[in-house]
């Protein structure tokens, strides 16, 4: 992909925290995001998957300049993203927007939705005449499939899917180039999810925005993304086209994740049950962060941090998946793996 809209380089975000332990609670560092590299081309949708706490939302915040990175940088259209929330930052909102998981929470319940959809104009285009603003808001509503008679409704009067449409309409008001969607359909029911996903695809076809699409639901990501990044403990462990990643996962973690994804169309599957608890980002294991839960781990995994190796659009950070020749091949589904 040629035209890079967004690029993250060695992006890291660490939080100082205090360990449990009563009176003796030691200070420690929580590495929410720890050295992430990716590029996002114009018009491309990059899916970000991973378990809770692996740093997906933090990555999104870094991309949007909500929090400053501890190290590394994010460039948007060649220029670093400001993080100070001053005028520069505010101006950049015209070009990058966000869609939230909980549409009700993201809407002001005391304003009719049309006012909220038109708000970006009020903020960024104070010179635009009032009628035009109203007209544009109406057009936006129509484009996300809201009826004109719903203009005066308040968020609580709408269904979840309709609310998410409002949020989407508002985010698209100023024709942003980048949309960051943090679990945009997780709060929606299955039947509604499909409506929203379809709407987003349609809008994308129409306006051509690029998106960072975050979800823990692999099926949804596969539906939406052009490329997928899998994160584990603040790092990227695998990257590739959706079908590559989901059909032939290289990393043992991705393998487990894919096998555990519940889908009614694939009954009687082999579920890889990983042992152990979800990872704790304060206490990242040495070597490969995944090794304590890895069914295929070998001695090397315990000591040596695997680097993300790229090859022909795919990338993986696993010693076992990187064969000597440099080609990438799936990590062996180890003998230890408990297959249900």
């Amino acid at each position: 992909m040629s035209d890079v809209l967004l690029s993250a380089r060695a992006l890291a975000r660490h939080y100082p925290v205090r360990l449990p332990g009563g009176l003796l609670g030691r200070p420690a560092t929580l590495k929410a995001v720890d050295g992430v590299d990716f590029d996002l081309a114009r018009g491309e949708v990059l899916g970000l998957v991973g378990e809770s706490g692996c740093g997906k939302s933090t990555t999104a915040k870094l991309v949007l300049g909500h929090v400053p990175p501890s190290s590394g940088e994010v460039r948007f259209d060649g220029a670093p993203v400001p993080t100070d929330r001053r005028a520069d930052w505010r101006r950049l909102r015209r070009r990058m927007q966000m869609i939230y998981q909980d549409p009700l929470g993201a809407l002001d319940r005391r304003l009719p939705i049309v006012a909220q959809i038109g708000e970006p104009f009020d903020i960024h285009c104070p010179d635009m005449p009032r009628p035009e603003r109203r007209e544009r808001a109406a057009a936006l509503m129509a484009s996300v499939g809201l009826r004109p008679d719903q203009a005066g409704s308040y968020p609580h009067e709408l269904s979840g899917g309709q609310r998410q449409r409002v949020v989407i309409a508002r985010a698209l008001a100023l024709d942003p180039e980048l949309l960051v969607c943090d679990e945009p359909v997780s709060a929606l029911d299955v039947s509604i999810q499909a409506q929203v996903l379809n709407l987003m695809s349609d809008l994308r076809d129409r306006t051509g925005f690029a998106a960072l699409f975050i979800s823990h639901d692999l099926k949804v990501v596969r539906q939406m993304a052009d490329r997928v990044v899998v994160m584990y403990l603040g790092r990227i462990v695998e990257e590739g086209l959706p079908d590559q990643v989901f059909h032939a996962p290289l990393h043992p973690y991705t393998q487990a994740l894919v096998s555990a994804a519940p889908t009614p169309h694939r009954r009687a599957r082999n579920r890889i049950v990983l042992p152990g608890d979800p990872p704790n980002p304060v206490d990242v294991p040495s070597g490969c962060p995944f090794h304590p839960r890895c069914p295929a781990a070998v001695a090397r995994c315990r000591s040596e941090v695997p680097s993300l190796v790229r090859d022909a659009g795919r990338a993986v950070a696993c010693h076992l998946a990187q064969s000597a020749g440099g080609d990438l091949s799936p990590a062996p589904r180890a003998l230890k793996a408990k297959v249900a």
Binding site: R85, L92, G105, D108, R110, L111, E119
Partner: protein, 320 residues
Amino acid sequence: MAGSIRACASARCPPRNKEPDMTITTPDPRQGSASVFTAKSRARAFFQKYPILILLSIFWIVLMLAVAGLGHLVAPRDFMAMNLSERLSEPVGMGGTWAYPLGTDELGRDVVSRLIASIRISLTIAFLATLVSATIGVALGFLAAFLRGRAEQTILMVIDAQAAMPFMIIALAVLAFLGNSLTLFTILLGFYGWERIARIARGLAIAAQDQGYAAAVRDLGASPSRIYGLHILPNIASTLLVSMTLNFPEVILLESGLSFLGLGVQPPETSLGAMVGYGRDYIQSAPWIMLAPAAVIVVTTLCVSLLGDWLRDLFDPTLR
């Protein structure tokens, strides 16, 4: 188990266009045609939504507001007019006449007229003070939420300090040492309870800007004044209103407590607290001087509190 039904006539398929046949049983009467049914009489439903106490409270508060606004027009006499020959005359029902329905006080002034004047003053003070405290509280709360960091810590410390001192004690010292005027008194009472409102405002603002609608608007690129003025404030207004209904009766009580100590509203002005305060010496010889305003204090604060509780339940969906 399942409403066992005549199955599809036979194993064969009916023609496609055929109207669904009569296999459909009439709806179970138990199920009703829709999910909502009014099993309550309208009156019962109404009173359940607006309990009688609440209606009475609203009525009383409206009455008090009317008295505060228009009472001076209907007051039988000037509240300062004295008639020394009629001092301490009893109210109707205790042997008095309709000339002075609630009797007269130690200077022969009409208790009804004084009561009206007192309601005016007390309600005005309580209202203004509550407004002042809400303004201070919201301003500081928002400031803390907006600035975060050191500034927030400083504001929190001031809040702590204010909360640590019983307000009565501070008011006592200030009034006794600075002297008293209605303005000073009102402003002083305006400092009552601001810290509570500041805490609430800060908490709600932070919640809103951490995950809520405020964060969303901020991400649209809105300026802080827009976020706080246009979005957060209207959203937390109901919560603030409820906490103001808590403040209001407390201010009235505080006023009466200070009046008891001779530090409240000063003659020739009068207030509910001042009437009770000055009337307390007559609690045995002429109880009506004190009882009428005391009753108004109790009933008014009661009504405002009840209304506040009710509003809080109304606004708080988790309590439903």
